[in-house]
């Protein structure tokens, strides 16, 4: 076996259209490519000339799975340009809707996209034939996250209630009470989920990632914080472009993000968890320890456990926010357009999501830049394939291909998000 190519022509159980190709020569992995063939949609270009107030509605359409992340990074960046700060109950409501998205998106990934890899099923529907109660629990947990999105956002996908300055309508306290009942159940279900996924059989693979995530003084990060790395980087969102760059590599399928002068880095649950363990609620910390996690996690196959811990945290945090909620006097703070540049970085379920806007004096968007988590993670995903697959080359082709797919799914790639600035593969391997 001198030479062998492992190809997956259409990656399944990921969001969007991608493929992967691993070339093995003389018993070693020679190259690994995650290919993107999803057509680009040019969001940065079409945002120019739009009103600042339209950015949250338009950027939500980048991703149907994490629209709140786009809305949040957009409103924070624009508020930064307009010199506005949103505090108190309105800030808490933003955190609450973000909890909803994490629960919904992570639970989708845990139960429907990732767990079938560990238990040997093609998908969750096939898994439901043998484990109906487990799949039902996952669906109900996902529904609890979506219930937050529906109530606060109006609907689960592309919520309509988020605006620059706050919300169009703030909920009344009594409207949140039924959510609290549902979330109290969800918190128990999340705890059971942590225990369930912790019982899976994990490949013994670790890698010394450079983790990048937001860090905040008091909170596990959603909307605000400094951009911190495990190698000592510590910057504000406005400095992102000074420290991170994308380069286009020959024969590569994508723009690759790097820390200037450094290598690939990882954003997402592993990074957030490892850089912010002490900011998790006591319940989430205890569940993580019981699940066998340390305060950092370098094994990407265990990311499913970290995601479950984050779901538990999000349920816990949502309950705290609902309990402490006091209705704001106005659903949004007033904003006045002015010329300027604004920066925003928030924690999408899949990791750091950076937006930058340059506004004209009347609030028209002159320039937009968006860096989604999956494009930042793509070099790390390929590096995982290069490092980890070598130990499995004795497996039959189909099993090896499955291992490759699982290795990609560890990072929950969202290709729909990444696409608008990934290079399109001209040759479609079909």
């Amino acid at each position: 076996m001198a030479h062998k190519t492992i190809k997956v022509d259409y990656l399944t159980r990921v969001e969007g259209e991608g493929a992967l190709k691993v070339v093995v020569r003389d018993g070693a992995v020679e190259s690994a490519e995650l290919k993107i063939f999803e057509p680009p949609r040019f969001f940065e270009a079409l945002l120019r000339g739009r009103a600042y107030s339209e950015a949250p509605d338009i950027t939500a359409r980048i991703c149907g799975i994490c629209p709140v992340a786009y809305q949040m990074s957009a409103v924070h960046a624009i508020e930064n340009a307009l010199g506005v700060s949103v505090t108190g109950p309105l800030r808490d409501l933003r955190r609450l809707i973000y909890c909803g998205e994490w629960i919904e998106s992570h639970t989708l990934h845990i139960y429907m996209l990732h767990a079938p890899d560990f238990l040997g099923y093609e998908g969750a529907i096939e898994m439901a034939r043998d484990h109906p109660d487990i799949v039902r629990r996952g669906l109900a947990l996902k529904k609890a996250g979506n219930a937050i999105m529906s109530l606060l956002g109006g609907r689960e996908i592309h919520p309509i209630n988020v605006r620059v300055g706050g919300f169009y309508r703030a909920p009344q306290r009594r409207e949140l009470q039924p959510l609290a009942d549902q979330l109290a159940w969800a918190r128990d279900a999340a705890l059971e989920t942590v225990r369930w996924v912790a019982s899976f059989d994990f490949p013994d693979r670790e890698r010394g990632y450079e983790f990048v995530a937001l860090c905040h003084d008091r909170e596990y990060p959603f909307n605000e914080g400094r951009i911190v790395s495990s190698n000592g980087l510590n910057i504000g969102p406005a400095q992102y472009d000074d420290y991170f760059e994308e380069t286009q590599i020959d024969r590569s399928t994508a723009l690759h993000a790097h820390i200037r002068g450094g290598g690939p880095y990882l954003v997402g649950p592993l990074a957030r968890y490892s850089l912010n363990f002490d900011r998790l609620s006591p319940l989430a910390q205890a569940a993580a320890r019981d699940a066998g996690l340390g305060t950092t996690c370098l094994n990407p196959y265990r990311s499913i456990v970290v995601r479950a811990v984050e779901v538990l945290y999000a349920c816990d945090e949502a309950l705290r926010l609902i309990d402490a909620y006091e209705e704001p006097e106005q659903p949004a703070v007033a904003v006045q357009p002015r010329a300027g540049i604004g920066y925003g970085a928030t924690e999408a379920p899949r990791g750091l999501l950076y937006h930058r806007y340059r506004l004209e004096a009347d609030g028209t968007i002159a320039e937009a830049r968006i860096v989604p988590p999956t494009s930042q993670n793509q070099p790390s995903i390929e590096e995982d394939l290069r490092r980890f697959i070598g130990g499995w080359l004795d497996l039959p082709d189909e099993a090896l291909r499955h291992r490759c797919e699982q290795t990609v799914r560890n990072h929950d790639p969202c290709i729909s998000c990444a696409t608008h600035f990934l290079r399109l593969e001209v040759d479609r391997a079909r």
Binding site: V14, R61, R163, Y168, S416
Partner: protein, 259 residues
């Protein structure tokens, strides 16, 4: 007893955000029942398993933006007994159809350092511009109850019931106060296709047209009222040019207010 034949369901993706096919997975209470009533034969976002066509029902998400996709939809049409398009990308070209009003080469140079690597068409177009479509389900995103109605109707061999009247009617049914009359908030509700349940007015905001034009809209009259509420040509063009910018009525109305 022989197993009853379950219709084969396929889900296909073109240029899109994945949100409309996610709507099927968001049917948390109904998903397993749907999976029992149909055979999920091709749904890459949900399962690795795939069954060869032909398919009884194909749900198509996304718009046509590459030559390859223009060919791919022809194959899908040929292997589908019924083809239903889901969402604004598939029914009208989506937000990415804003390129239809611009120079796509210029768009390319804004987003990509090496635009020569990108293959794209100058336009983003609806599926119905390429193949015959049996039913179009509107929305950005679609409403999941309407999606279940479409699947149920197909299983029962009847036409789906998705009223083509305006969002205004839904507002009246919901008992919402009219945001335009009571608060002077610009609202596309009078010209917009129903389906969302009049969400935005219930949240004190004007409709922004996620479901595209209703069956027989009077957009020029609506424009007249929007102008009286203070919208200038630029704002009017923007309000018609979002997720359904390339739907005929919205396109024509937007073109009256600038290039």
């Amino acid at each position: 007893m022989p197993k009853p034949h379950r219709p084969k369901l396929a889900v296909w993706k073109f240029a899109s955000c994945d949100g409309c096919q996610l709507s099927l997975l968001d049917c948390e209470d109904e998903l397993l029942a749907v999976a029992g009533a149909v055979e999920i034969a091709h749904f890459p976002e949900a399962t690795r398993a795939t069954v060869k066509g032909p398919y009884d029902l194909s749900l198509v998400e996304g718009s046509i933006t590459t030559r390859h996709d223009a060919e791919r939809i022809q194959h899908i049409r040929r292997s589908s007994r019924f083809l239903v398009t889901i969402g604004a990308c598939a029914t009208a070209g989506g937000i990415q159809a804003l390129r239809n009003f611009a120079d796509v080469q210029e768009y390319l140079s804004v987003v990509y350092a090496r635009p020569e690597y990108i293959q794209t068409l100058a336009t983003s177009t609806a599926i119905v511009d390429h193949v015959a479509v049996d039913f179009e389900l509107r929305g950005c995103p679609i409403d999941k109850r309407q999606l279940l109605e479409v699947i149920s109707a197909f299983l029962a061999g009847r036409r789906p019931v998705t009223p083509p009247h305006s969002v205004c009617v839904e507002c009246k049914l919901a008992g919402n106060v009219c945001v335009m009359v009571a608060h002077g908030t610009p609202c596309l509700g009078p010209a917009t296709h129903a389906g969302c349940g009049a969400l935005c007015p219930a949240y004190h905001r004007g409709c922004y047209g996620c479901f595209g034009p209703m069956e027989t809209p009077n957009a020029s009259s609506l424009t007249h009222w929007l102008r009286r509420l203070g919208m200038d040509d630029r704002a009017l063009q923007r309000v018609y040019r979002t997720f359904n910018a390339n739907a005929q009525v919205f396109r024509e109305e937007s073109e009256r207010h600038g290039p």
